[in-house]
Point group: C2
Chain length 357, copies 2
């Protein structure tokens, strides 16, 4: 177990752990004591029909959701809804390579985890803790969108509404290769040591290269050209040039994280694919969806481009495509722009207000 | 000096070397005996008004031009024009870190070279060898486009027509950061050894990571999604999956090259900027251009997107924008598609046929 201050409640905001006990994984491994880190906002009503599930994205935690997306008067309003944000397995808060001392799964021995494992685990958590069998909405961005699709295909009756933001149901070849460059940036650092480092700081160079690839793919050509970064503020730091922004923002963000956690999520991201349920037939898989679905790509996204999301939306019965505007591209998910947040809220608000069967 | 078979005439096609003698560089260094590798196609006429100059792109040589762009009946027709393709300084054929035994500049001691150095060197070569003072056309792709713009701004009277393909006059912040990831992939390989390896194969891992970043940025999301790669053929190899294509095509291409040559070109690419002539004023610099100019971005280019090229075109007096179609994105430059080649030929043919002052 490695202490990493980035994952402390002081940084992430309050969360709780729920143990699912021994959890068998789709790829064949087992996590002997799978702990899911989750946070809830609002109250579950008696009918249990106001529950919203939010799974997290690559490198993300529940923190961005309470900081950016959840609030009174917002679409995700804790005064009306019971919102459950569940940190994905291996994200550094839920059971992850560096959070356990169990010699069977610690560090380099951590088993391979798939999107389907997360969704099954979230279902178990919701039933055990809250008796929730059905969500008014499942919403998530990026790898969170992969989980949204997996929910809607695997458990159609459990999802009344679905909002996959900036992500796909079946990972694309380009995304697979992109994710591999992110992972190779880490594993090529001698400090990674086959996954057996003793502090994430030993992998600082690899984490920096990882962050630098994010800077060119996670943000957009327009973000950099326009100097949009000048208006972004972080506590205790500042930047006068775009290279300083890269060093002090993207490198700082990813440099604080656990390398093996990023690798666990990266491997999972590469293999997200709802067509695993239908022998590779994506149309058949997405045809199972009964949720009222808004597919919400981001216009400047460099690696989940709107056209890829549109193609999938055409296979989801009744789905609508709502393109979100963000000059920040995929990292628009961080909510730098009020226009982006307004668009998210308008769409989620409309979706939540819509009648479902 | 390192022997690298990739740069042999058997692979590259015939070329000649011309020594410019001692050549002072803009960044302050000197190349004691700068040799430019060049190839010519066709005959210079008596009026010397049928000369076309082609500078090369990052990692490129003259080979792609005779293989893909030059031919009878094509726009670049050696039956009509005298076409001079000059390999950029440091590209592995012209004087480069690994081609010299001069202890002052070999390997890690190779001086920094700028786009302006290439253009001055090309001008000297053209005058010394051919007495050419004016080009009917200067055309190049990517870093070749940077040189085209540099020619048109630095020596307006020497350029009658200009065709920058898939490149910019002023490198963008996104491109700077992208190029840095390419370079860091190489320099992070312990085999690079501070630039003092004894064979490029010692840097195989770094060159592979370099190639993998090219695979996601040089090609396009649509290229990978559509499986376009299935139709691409190389001698002595084949591929059944997209990961095999990546391993056997993009890794093979870049894995054969010299690491220090790539780094020399990368540093130069990052700093291409015609506004150096006008105290940072891009509009003033491009306003100097008198060449009839077709700005030719590629529609699916991930890092020289058409909108960036359009913005610059608006600053070039009388310039027209002609967007080239290629699902391969920036690597459309390799000429995988007849539709792309036809578009290039139609535009260059129209440009060459147009009257100039």
């Amino acid at each position: 177990m490695i202490e990493n201050p980035f994952y402390a409640p002081e940084v992430q905001g309050p969360y709780q752990l729920h143990s699912l006990g021994s959890f068998d994984l789709e790829e064949g491994g087992t996590i002997p004591d799978l702990q899911l880190a989750y946070a809830t906002y609002g109250e579950l009503n008696e009918a249990k029909d106001n529950a919203i599930l939010v799974p997290t994205w690559f490198s993300g935690t529940h923190a961005t959701w309470w900081q950016v997306y959840i609030g009174e008067g917002r679409a995700l309003d804790p005064a009306k809804y019971f919102i459950v944000v569940v940190n994905q397995i291996g994200n550094g808060l839920s059971t992850s390579p560096h959070t356990t001392d169990d010699p069977a799964i610690a560090m380099s021995r951590f088993p391979k985890v798939r999107i389907g494992d997360d969704v099954r685990a979230q279902r178990q958590l919701a039933q055990e803790l809250f008796g929730i069998d059905r969500w008014a909405l499942v919403v998530g961005g990026s790898m969170g969108a992969q989980q949204v699709y997996e929910w809607a295909v695997r458990y159609p009756d459990a999802v009344q509404r679905a909002a996959p933001i900036a992500g796909t149901a079946q990972n694309t070849p380009h995304d697979f290769l992109f994710t591999q460059t992110l992972m190779d940036a880490i594993t090529s650092d001698p400090g990674w040591n086959g996954g057996e480092y003793t502090s994430h700081t030993e992998v600082a160079a690899g984490l920096a290269r990882h962050a630098d690839i994010w800077a060119i793919m996670g943000l957009s050509t327009e973000f950099w050209r326009s100097g949009f970064w000048r208006g972004i503020e972080l506590p205790d730091t500042s930047w006068d040039t775009f290279t300083e922004f890269q060093e002090r923002f993207t490198r700082a963000v990813f440099g604080a994280m656990d390398p093996n956690a990023l690798l666990t999520m990266g491997w999972k991201w590469q293999r997200g694919d709802v067509a695993r349920h239908t022998g590779g037939d994506l149309a058949a898989a997405l045809g199972r969806v009964t949720a009222r679905t808004f597919v919400m790509p981001i216009d400047e996204d460099m690696f989940f481009p709107p056209r890829d999301c549109r193609r999938e939306a055409e296979l989801v019965p009744g789905a609508q495509v709502r393109v979100l505007p963000s000059i920040a591209g995929h990292f628009g998910l961080f909510g730098f722009e009020q226009t982006y947040l307004d668009a998210v809220d308008a769409n989620l608000g409309e979706l939540l207000a819509s009648e479902v069967p």
